[in-house]
Subunit: 366 residues, 2 copies
């Protein structure tokens, strides 16, 4: 083999009963989810927050980092970290989730990063409002989309690229996106975009371009690989599909009791078991969470914590379960203020995106 | 099913051609390796350092944490974090590697945490020498082994347990082990043992008990599950085997060029390609690293960085490769000052431990 295309092919679906492949395992060993006991923390410690890196973590240096802002602007600008810091300092709490979360539980399974349900995390990101940067440069009338380019280089399906995503100008401004240089009060860890990244509240993680080096306003709809080809919800290869955008509602329980090492099966003692978890949606605040302890036959409303200032960050919920001996299946679902409700089983799609199928935890009560 | 034993069974070997199982994927999604570009850093940032948690990360609190020191001592002692900090402050740079690193590349594959080759990391750990604590309590003549117990509870092969490992009294003292409350200058992250853990330089990670709450000196050899059953190198179930102890020599290259997203295949442009990596051994300092760019036919000595103060921490190496168009297989091997050399192919064992088979990276030069 002597061409890049031969080594870089379109994703396929797993055959019936096909185990996780060597390619999927390579990705699972590099990238990681948040162990579900990480739901315990209001703000996820950096090493527990999920990470998905498309290519390699690039070698970067805050000292000489430049962010270019150009295209359909009155005045192209270039910023170093010092200049950005001088522009202000805004901290927002954001729940980020990978668009592929839940992919490996789909039937048939799209072969890619094989997430189960833990590709999530909540962090406090500090930076400057993207809209402030755009206004400083002066948005020209012909601007349509905003294109963000990272320093991470790789190839997907034969296309050599620097990771790049576009947002409409409206979303770039209205989403409250920030250009961030801190995570949880410290410099960004390398795997989260050091020294500079975009953070787009409410959107799946692919929009929050890491190692951000360029912002370009363009006069047409962005048709780059990650927008037009990769992150698209389609039923088959001919389906034009619709883009992956905001995070669908989801609730996750912190699995109670203690686990078996290998099967991760859970064991708890009979009695009152306080169940706890978090729920989020990128569309609107969470307004209701329901818990079932009998595999979805009966549902009980959980108690929700007060809504914080950052309305799209996850919300804690709790429910006291009177656990009786035997095997039980816990499940949970979230409802948001936009009227969206989490399905028991989400609709399948070929890329395995936005799969917010309800979590199921089997527990043996002893 | 209504007993813990039914859900918690002995590990098995994968069938020929059997893909990674759902159980293995659950572990791979929770635990994570160090993406190999993390070899770039002398000290691994916490979120990039490998993590293996047997059960759940426990809920812990530095404020009321107690470490009990008892058993065959003159005077049982109990320490809070403040008391430990008052005893001194020693910082050591340690390379930790999971004993199961490389497991998923074995044939047949032992089914457990499916590491490829990235279960490693180097950190600066700050704490107090274990030997200082033991001397303060007064080691009795009858003391044989030292047992370390963490706050993490779970079940393995039907045995409900708090994670617990033993070291001989000699190793506990001579290894230079510390009881650490800082990693890389900050509090331990939850997944690395917050607020207190043991760090045993030179030993595979299973010895460095996290969430450390008890140190007990006993008058016999420790026969707990993790020493006598789990971490044992055996060829079959009847083999009494030998314990997993110190880290076998290994070298890893930072894969050059850029990757394909899915296959992780690498691409570089022809010309001089600076290869860089790290090598380590838990037995003695690394004294030689060899690189091959033709799948092991010819070997070239790499340039080693100066040996640091912490002789068992990894050592950087470099080699300039004159890359010509076509497909090439890079491989690398390490030699330490004890006379141990890394094999091209390590011996198989049923638990998949200490697999230091040489890394192979296929690169397409364009």
């Amino acid at each position: 083999m002597d061409s890049i295309e031969e080594f870089s092919v379109r994703g396929r679906l797993a055959d019936t009963g096909e185990g996780i492949t060597a390619d999927e395992l390579q990705l699972a060993a590099r990238n990681h989810g948040m162990p579900l006991e990480g739901l315990r923390y209001d703000v996820t410690p950096p090493g527990l927050h999920y990470v998905l890196v498309h290519y390699d973590i690039p070698a970067t240096n805050a000292g000489d980092w430049r962010l270019e802002l150009n295209g359909c602007v009155e005045q192209p600008l270039s910023f170093g970290l010092t200049e950005l810091r001088a522009m202000g300092r805004r901290t927002i709490r954001v729940t980020l989730e990978c668009a592929g979360n839940g992919r490996a539980t789909l039937q048939p399974r799209p072969i890619s990063q094989p997430w189960l349900q833990e590709a999530v995390g909540t962090a406090e990101w500090t930076g400057v409002l993207l809209s402030d940067l755009l206004r400083l440069a002066g948005i020209r009338e012909d601007a349509v989309d905003v294109v963000f380019t990272g320093a991470d280089r790789g190839v997907e399906r034969g296309v050599v690229q620097d990771y790049q995503r576009g947002l409409s100008l409206t979303e770039a401004i209205d989403s409250g996106a920030i250009v961030a240089w801190e995570m949880n009060g410290g410099p960004l860890p390398p795997q989260h975009g050091y020294p500079l990244r975009l953070v787009v509240p409410g959107w799946y993680g692919m929009a929050s371009v890491k190692w951000l080096r360029s912002i370009e306003l363009i006069d047409h709809e962005f048709d780059g690989f990650q927008n037009a080809v990769a992150y698209v919800i389609r039923q088959n290869l001919d389906d034009p599909g619709r883009p992956v955008t905001r995070i669908e509602p989801r609730a996750l329980l912190m699995p109670p009791g203690f686990p078996d090492f290998m099967s991760r099966h859970r064991f708890v003692a009979a009695g009152t078991v306080p169940l706890f978890g978090r729920a989020w949606s990128g569309w609107a605040p969470i307004e209701r969470v329901e818990v079932s302890t009998d595999a979805g036959v009966n549902w009980h409303e959980a108690t929700l914590d007060a809504l914080g200032n950052d309305e799209l960050a996850w919300r804690a919920f709790a429910y006291d379960w009177e656990a009786t001996p035997g095997e039980h299946v816990l499940t949970v679902r979230a409802y948001d203020a936009s009227g969206r409700e989490q399905p028991i089983e989400a609709e399948w799609n070929r890329g395995g995106f936005s799969n917010n199928t309800a979590q199921r935890i089997t527990v043996l009560v002893t």
